[in-house]
């Protein structure tokens, strides 16, 4: 258990999430894969601030990765609320949630 193992775990999670965003066709599945990617970024930030810290730093700077993760969690909550609201209104007006079938902007 060292910094490399946490960063490699975070890279694997990020690539799984990116695969999900690229290959899924359900909008809710794409939102779920986005949540995976945000979680992997949180793990990387917290692990980096746990193991690598500037010499003679203040205690608040030792915990700097935690602040990154807190603000990322805030933005993720706002993002999932807005994304699911868009999915619901799309489903109510067009009755479809697969991105292969949503092509209204194509002209």
């Amino acid at each position: 258990m060292n910094l490399e193992s946490f960063l490699i775990l975070s890279a694997i999670l990020f690539c799984i999430g990116l695969t999900g965003v690229l290959i899924k066709s359900n909008i809710i599945a794409i939102l779920m894969s986005l949540e995976l990617m945000l979680n992997s970024v949180n793990i990387a930030a917290v692990a980096a601030s746990r193991y690598v810290t500037p010499i003679n730093a203040e205690p608040a700077f030792v915990l700097w990765g935690n602040f990154f993760a807190i603000f990322i969690i805030t933005i993720a909550a706002a993002e999932v609320a807005l994304g699911l609201a868009i999915v619901m209104s799309l489903y109510k007006s067009k009755n479809k949630i697969f991105i292969d079938k949503i092509s209204d902007l194509k002209g």
């Binding site: 290959i23 066709s25 949180n42 793990i43 692990a47 935690n66 909550a77 807005l82 991105i99």
Partner: protein
């Protein structure tokens, strides 16, 4: 020794659940595996001495976001049609494998400066023993502007969600 075993078990559960999220046919079960992935991330945060962040992750992700996603899945009626792949399946998997190999090579070949070689470890001990005190104090002093800005972001998200799902009078 024991933290190593706990780390490997937690990492295994997290990665297997994350793979199941994007391979399961049933999207309802995919959302349940997503909650399991979030629980694995809670365990990783505890292993990294970030207790406050573990509690926040448990409350917001496992408690709120998973339930909201489950509600959205149940409101859209194509549950049994599920979770099909789009037509870019091969290209997406190849791109992500190349990116993963590049990331692992660059992580493994970099020389990291670990902080337990510094002279005075008292700062680290103080920071991790009183982490909630330091987090609360810094959020209202140094980081007060992004703190208030994130509250406005949440307010805008709530108002936008309400106005998006509102019934239109015609």
């Amino acid at each position: 020794m024991i933290p190593n075993i706990v780390f490997y078990i937690t990492a295994f559960i997290t990665i297997i659940s994350a793979i199941m999220v994007i391979t399961t046919k049933d999207i309802f079960r995919a959302a349940l595996f997503l909650a399991s992935t979030f629980m694995g991330v809670v365990g990783l945060f505890i292993l990294l001495f970030a207790e406050f962040l573990a509690a926040v992750q448990l409350i917001i992700y496992v408690g709120a976001i998973s339930v909201v996603i489950l509600f959205a899945i149940m409101f859209t009626k194509d549950v049994e049609v599920g979770n099909p792949f789009s037509k870019y399946k091969i290209v997406g998997i190849v791109i992500c494998l190349i990116l993963l190999i590049l990331l692992i090579l660059s992580i493994a070949n970099y020389e990291w400066n670990y902080n337990f070689e510094i002279d005075n470890p008292n700062i680290l001990i103080d920071a991790y023993k009183n982490s909630i005190y330091h987090i609360g104090k810094t959020l209202v002093t140094t980081l007060v502007v992004p703190f208030i800005a994130s509250s406005f972001v949440l307010l805008a998200a709530v108002l936008g969600a309400i106005s998006l799902v509102k019934e239109r009078e015609s």
